[in-house]
C-alpha cells in the first residue's frame, strides 16, 4: 500500500509566521495555487481514498485533489495539527516575550514539551498514529491512499516510522503541498519519499 502524506497549502498565518494549531484559517491565493499544483501532479495517479484533517486549510487542499478523482474526502480530527493552546494566533517572538519560561522549555525539548494549555508533538504522534493504523487496516495492500494534513502531524508520523526521537522532529522539513510517501508491506511501514515539492516550485515557473 502506498500512502501519500500531503501538507496543506499556504495561509496568511504561514507568511506572518503565526502559530495557529487548530485555528480555522483558509488558504491564501498562493495556497490555492499550490493546492492546484499538487492536484495536477496527482490527477493521473490512481487514488483509492482521500483522508484529511478536518481543519479548513487541509480540507480545502484535499478538495482540490478530489476534484480529479471520483472520491469524497473523509475528514478525521485525528490528523489535525498540534493543539497550540494559549499560543494560538501569536508569533514566536510574542511567545518568547510573554511566556519566557514555558518557551525556553519548549525550545529545549520541542517534541515532548506541550504547548501551553495544548498538546505536545508526542501526543500528536500518538493520536495520528492511531488513525493512520485504522486507515491501513481499512484498505487492501495494492491501494493508494492520500492523507492531507499538517507539517507537525506529518513530521511526528515520520519520526514514529523511523524511530527518530520526537524532539528532533523540527529537523524534517515539510513544505506546503509537498508529498511524502510511505509504503506499507508485510515488513512494516517504510519512508519512500520525504518532502517532494517539485510541483510547487515548477508551478511558480522556477527551475526545480
Amino acid at each position: 500500500m502506498d500512502i501519500l502524506l500531503i501538507r496543506h497549502g499556504e495561509t496568511h498565518y504561514n507568511t506572518e509566521h503565526r502559530i495557529y494549531g487548530h485555528a480555522q484559517i483558509p488558504l491564501n491565493e498562493r495556497g490555492k495555487l499550490q493546492a492546484q499544483a499538487v492536484a495536477n501532479r496527482l490527477k493521473d495517479t490512481p487514488i483509492d481514498a482521500i483522508y484529511s484533517s478536518d481543519l479548513v486549510r487541509a480540507y480545502a487542499t484535499a478538495q482540490s485533489i478530489a476534484a480529479h478523482h471520483p472520491l469524497v474526502v473523509n475528514t478525521d480530527a485525528g490528523f489535525r495539527e498540534v493543539d497550540v493552546g494559549r499560543w494560538e494566533h501569536l508569533t514566536e517572538a510574542d511567545v518568547a516575550r510573554t511566556f519566557a519560561t514555558e518557551y525556553a522549555d519548549f525550545r529545549t525539548r520541542p517534541g515532548e514539551a506541550p504547548y501551553l494549555g495544548g498538546e505536545s508533538f508526542q501526543q500528536v504522534q500518538k493520536r495520528a498514529w492511531h488513525v493512520l493504523e485504522r486507515c491501513i487496516q481499512t484498505h487492501a495492500d495494492a491501494q493508494t491512499i492520500c492523507i492531507v494534513c499538517h507539517a507537525g502531524t506529518i513530521s511526528a508520523l515520520i519520526c514514529g516510522i523511523l524511530q527518530v526521537n520526537i524532539n528532533h522532529h523540527p529537523r524534517l522539513r515539510i513544505d506546503n503541498c509537498a508529498i511524502s510517501r510511505l509504503t506499507v508491506t508485510s515488513e512494516g511501514i517504510h519512508l519512500a519519499t520525504l518532502n517532494d515539492n517539485t510541483h510547487v516550485i515548477k508551478s511558480r515557473g522556477e527551475m526545480v
Binding site: 523511523l162 519512508l191 518532502n195
Partner: protein, 206 residues
Amino acid sequence: MYIVFVRHGETAYNASGRYQGHTQISLNERGFAQATIVAQRLRHSRIDALYSSDLLRAVQTAEAIAAHHSLHIHQHSGFREIDVGLWEHLTVSEIASQYPQHYATYKQTPGHAVYTGGESYALMQLRAMDALMQVIAQHPTDSSICIVCHGGTIRAMICAFLHIDINYYPHMWIDNCAITSVHYQNGVFRIGTINDNAHAEADWRE
C-alpha cells in the same frame, strides 16, 4: 551549507537484484539515461563542488552532472557503498541459501551485522560521516555541494543526521538517481528531501 546527495544510476546488478558492494560495474543503458535526466534537473542548480564515491557507477553518474557545470569531480573512497564481502554478485535468495546463518543475523540486526568478509552498516556509516565532515570542513559555510554515492551510504548518513538507530536503515528507500538534500548549520543536519525522484516521472522530463 546545502548538500545534495544523488544515488548513482541503474546497473545490470541493480536490474537483476544482485549485491554489488565494491564491484566495479558500469551503469547500464537505463542508468546512463537516468544520469542524463538528473543532470538535466540539476543543470541550473548552484553547485560549488562535486564529489563522488570512487566506484565506477557513481563516477559515471557524476560525469553526467559535471557536463553541465565546469567542475572537477573529487573522488573519495569514504563515500563508497558498503563492502558486502562474500555476498558480492549474489541475489538475496542465493545469499539466504548459501549463508543461512549470516543472513538470519543480518535480517535481525541489519545495521550491526557484518556482511561476511565485508563491513557492517555501522562501520560504513562511520567512514562515510568521516568523509562528509572532511568535505564540510573544506568549504565555506554558505557553499552548495553535490555528492554522488550509493543507496546504502545515503541511508546510513540519514540515520546519522537524525540519530536513527542504524538497524532502521531498511525503513527508507533511495531510488537510482534520486535526490536527497540536507542543510548543515552549527553541527546540526536538517533534512530538506529524501528520495525526491520527481524527475523520473514522464511528465517532468523536458
